[in-house]
């Protein structure tokens, strides 16, 4: 679990400080750096208390699992976007990849006659096809951004529209049903009493924390996002790192889309539509800078967790569905202001 991970890190860091020479200033600074990482934890606790007061169902295991499962798919998008943002780029097309990758798999594996399925491949191919489509989209983004030096925002905006259009095209604007068994598995399986998608989400976030904090690849993302010339001067192969980052991000988005399709037993033509705004909001609330080089995976995790807990509390409080959208937007703005105050630094 991410929480336990970081506490362990904090403990080793403290040990390192204690073992080293005494200066007290460093202890203070380290502690503050850690605190910034945990900036949203008080807010999460507060929401939990408020939720419990509003409706005692809130802290019931079923409800908590419900929150975790609904956020697990979008969570993978946040994970993917964080990797891209830290390297100083952004990828808007993740939300379309989230729909198109499982959409293509459904299109190729669903039998003829049921909707727009073609039945070209047997059901077992669904997962490899999904991930392959994700990887290809990532490579296409990387080719345009890294190889041709186009601006990431516009490239991925164009890609977002193209990919959404492709999904509408192959599905005829309709929803794919009767998905093969393999596509359903990740969204429906339960491991040790907890849905598989929660396990996957949490495991991948833990892997993401290690990737960004403890591997040369992860640190070179920070270096590139912070000062690309300095990164080059240090011998980092910046282009190769960016290719890899963009590809990993798209594969993660495809996996997230697969999990959602499995849970809903369908792929709608609009799957993921509009999700990118929540993803950006979660990352920024969690302390990831839109200018690159700054932010942690744990912070991004707390960001998305906070947003979904608030949504859940609103639903439990009986807020009419028509108003949820406006409240969601307002909550994002409030959360930004709060994180600005607790984080102490301007969002850039």
């Amino acid at each position: 679990m991410p929480e336990t991970m970081t506490t362990a890190n904090a403990a080793t860091a403290d040990a390192a400080v204690a073992a080293g020479p005494p200066p007290g200033r460093r202890v203070g600074k380290l502690a503050i750096a850690r605190l910034r990482d945990l900036a949203l934890v008080p807010a999460i606790v507060l929401i939990a208390i408020v939720g419990q007061i509003i409706n005692p169902v809130f802290l019931q295991p079923d409800n908590l699992i419900n929150i975790a499962q609904t956020m697990s798919e979008i969570g993978l998008l946040v994970l993917a976007q964080t990797i891209v943002l830290v390297s100083g780029k952004m990828d808007l097309s993740l939300e379309s990849t989230f729909g198109l990758a499982p959409g293509v798999a459904a299109w190729m594996t669903v039998a003829v006659g049921a909707g727009h399925g073609t039945g070209l491949l047997s059901g077992g191919w669904a997962i490899p096809v999904t991930l392959l489509v994700g990887a290809l989209i990532g490579l296409a983004n990387a080719a345009l951004i890294v190889r041709f030096g186009l601006h990431g925002f516009i490239v991925t905006l164009g890609m977002l529209i193209v990919l959404r259009g492709l999904l509408t095209g192959i599905s005829g604007g309709q929803t794919f049903f009767n998905l093969p068994e393999s596509m359903m598995y990740l969204g429906t399986a339960v491991w040790f009493g907890v849905p598989a998608s929660i396990w996957i989400c949490v495991t991948l976030f833990a892997a993401g924390i290690i990737l960004l904090g403890y591997t040369g690849f992860g640190r070179s993302l920070y270096a590139i996002g912070g000062n690309v010339d300095a990164a080059k001067a240090a011998g980092i192969r910046t282009d190769r790192v960016l290719w890899t980052a963009l590809t990993i991000a798209s594969v993660l988005a495809a996996l997230g889309g697969l999990m959602l399709s499995g849970r809903l037993a369908s792929v709608a033509a609009s799957q993921g539509n509009g999700a990118i705004f929540t993803v950006f909001a979660a990352a920024v609330i969690g302390g990831v800078s839109l200018n690159g080089g700054k932010g942690t995976m744990f912070g991004a995790f707390t960001g998305i967790l906070l947003l979904f807990m608030i949504q859940n509390v609103l639903t439990l409080a009986g807020v009419p569905a028509q108003w949820i959208g406006a409240l969601n937007g307002a909550i994002i703005l409030i959360a930004l202001v709060v994180s600005r105050i607790t984080g102490g630094k301007a969002h850039e």
Binding site: A16, K29, G226, D229, A230, G293
Partner: protein, 522 residues
């Protein structure tokens, strides 16, 4: 704590004791190096020889070829002809960055630090300690960074965020990083430009310590005073050529300045300016202007028909003063009066309305919109005169533009050409045309002839002369002697203050010395 598979030699070879010995081949040498950029000769069979343990100064005015030599010496560019040698052996291939890093390092004015990462990570970027499973061992890394800074006696906390360091600490960290690659020859490119006096003193102490430990420096500076303070040998470049190399102690200041400016320049015929005849109205009055960090206590007046020069090296504050006059910067205190009015400080529009025309420092950044036509660029400041109720009359615009094009002899088929299609000299004429479009009472020019060819330069300066004769007061902020030669008076700024006031007919020598902060006895 060094280990975990990292070769120990990379992080901390012991400094050798007999630093200042002059035996063996030179640490670095450039032999007859030439480099061209298109038609510009940046280096013409230039040479330099740096011996072990010395601190070698490289001086020259802007465009002398210093930066080109640095980029060739540090392996960022290949010379067109000539040779670079380190310790008597040929330089490595350009692509072999590791080999270059082991021989030479440069601390540039522009930081190569990543602000969001810690000092430790910046020091050892991409050279991490690996622990179990190939993951980064932060504890080991921090310890290695701490050892490294201690070895070179840099007192900086390795856990602090690099962006929080002062300029001085940042330079120390960059020097330590350079040394950690094994380089014992370090180029410092104007290291003191952004430092205050106390920080400069600490930097120099540190440089002297490192000299004792056998580190060789090539020191580039605009401040000659500093060269006399810490350098052993000085090499002067001028107009892309090597002029002289001599021990600092044997080269008096006036000879050093003479080598930088060249005697040929002193022989050039001085322009004769009559200046305004008799007492003329004051069109620009600057009194007690102050802006923290840029300039202090600046006062002067420009009369109708007068050309005043504002001279000074980079960072002297001359540009900031000129930009304050035109409203690009807001001074902290003091007043700018233009023809009896006091435009709101820091408001370009108010300054233009008061009758200021100006040529900004960088025509690409502030002077022109590259994708717009000559007519649009030249009339940008006077759009309200070109039509009614906010609509432009293109006919009237083109009439005005054609008049300006004729007036300034801009070589173009017509007013509709995009300015990006013009040569540098003609682009600068468009900027000048814009400055003149509203018939200014005060014309402010910041480095007006930077990067233009000789013919255009002559033309532009003659034009300034002509404009002054019609009664406009002109302020020229520049460090180009040719620009300053047309002035009736030159005010010299150094470290934010006006330090000299030289009437027309000054000697190059004296002016350059004053700009460098030296007083040379004539």
């Amino acid at each position: 704590m060094n280990g975990n598979g990292q070769p120990s030699t990379r992080s901390s070879p012991a400094p050798n004791g007999d630093g200042r010995a002059r035996s063996g081949p030179p640490v670095a040498e450039a032999i007859d190096v030439s480099k061209r950029y298109g038609p510009t000769v940046a280096l013409d069979r230039a040479r330099i020889t740096v011996h072990s343990g010395e601190t070698h100064a490289l001086v020259g005015r802007n465009g002398a070829g210093k930066s080109t030599l640095v980029s060739i010496l540090t392996g960022l560019q290949a010379p067109d002809a000539g040779q670079i040698r380190f310790g008597g052996a040929d330089a490595p291939r350009l692509s072999d960055r590791d080999a270059w890093r082991q021989r030479v390092a440069c601390v540039y004015q522009k930081s190569t630090i990543i602000p969001e990462l810690t000092v430790a990570e910046n020091l050892l970027l991409n050279r991490y300690d690996r622990g179990r499973g190939g993951l980064i061992n932060w504890r080991g890394l921090r310890q290695r960074a701490r050892d490294l800074l201690a070895l070179w006696s840099v007192d900086v906390d390795v856990d602090s965020r690099a962006g929080d360091l002062s300029v001085e600490q940042r330079q120390f960290v960059e020097i330590a990083r350079a040394l950690s690659f094994g380089a014992r020859f370090i180029v410092l490119d104007e290291p003191t430009a952004q430092l205050d006096a106390a920080a400069i003193a600490r930097l120099f102490d540190h440089i002297r310590d490192l000299q004792q430990q056998g580190v060789t420096f090539l020191f580039i500076s605009h401040h000659l005073q500093e060269i006399y303070e810490i350098c052993d040998i000085v090499t002067v470049y001028r107009d892309a050529r090597h002029i002289i190399t001599a021990p600092v102690a044997e080269l008096p200041r006036d000879e050093l300045v003479a080598a930088m400016t060249g005697e040929a320049a002193a022989l050039q015929a001085a322009r004769t300016r009559n200046g305004p005849a008799g007492p003329a109205e004051v069109v620009l009055d600057v009194s007690d202007l102050r802006m923290g960090g840029f300039y202090d206590d600046v006062s002067f007046q420009v009369r109708s028909g007068e050309i005043i020069g504002l001279a000074g090296a980079g960072g002297s504050g001359k540009t900031a003063v000129a930009e304050s006059v035109v409203g690009l910067r807001t001074p902290d205190a003091g007043a700018v009066t233009v023809g009896g009015h006091r435009p709101r400080p820091g408001d370009v529009n108010a300054a233009l309305a008061a009758g200021v025309g100006f040529v900004p420092q960088d025509r690409h950044q502030q002077g022109l919109v590259a994708g717009m036509s000559i007519a649009d660029n030249a009339t940008m400041t006077i759009t309200e005169r070109l039509g009614r109720a906010g609509f432009l009359s293109t006919r009237r615009r083109d009439t005005v533009a054609n008049r300006l094009i004729d007036d300034l002899a801009i070589k173009t088929p017509g007013p509709d050409l995009e300015v990006s299609g013009l040569s540098g000299g003609n682009q600068q004429k468009v900027v000048m045309a814009r400055a003149l479009a509203n018939d200014p009472r005060v014309l402010v020019l910041i480095t007006p002839t930077a990067g233009v060819d000789v013919r255009s330069k002559e033309f532009l300066l003659d034009k300034v002369d002509e404009v002054a004769d019609t009664g406009t007061g002109v302020l020229v902020a520049s460090d180009e002697l040719d620009d300053l030669r047309i002035c009736d008076r030159v005010l010299v700024m150094f470290q934010g203050r006006i330090v000299a006031d030289m009437p027309s007919g000054w000697r190059d020598h004296d002016l350059v010395a004053a700009m460098e902060g030296l007083t040379v006895d004539a």
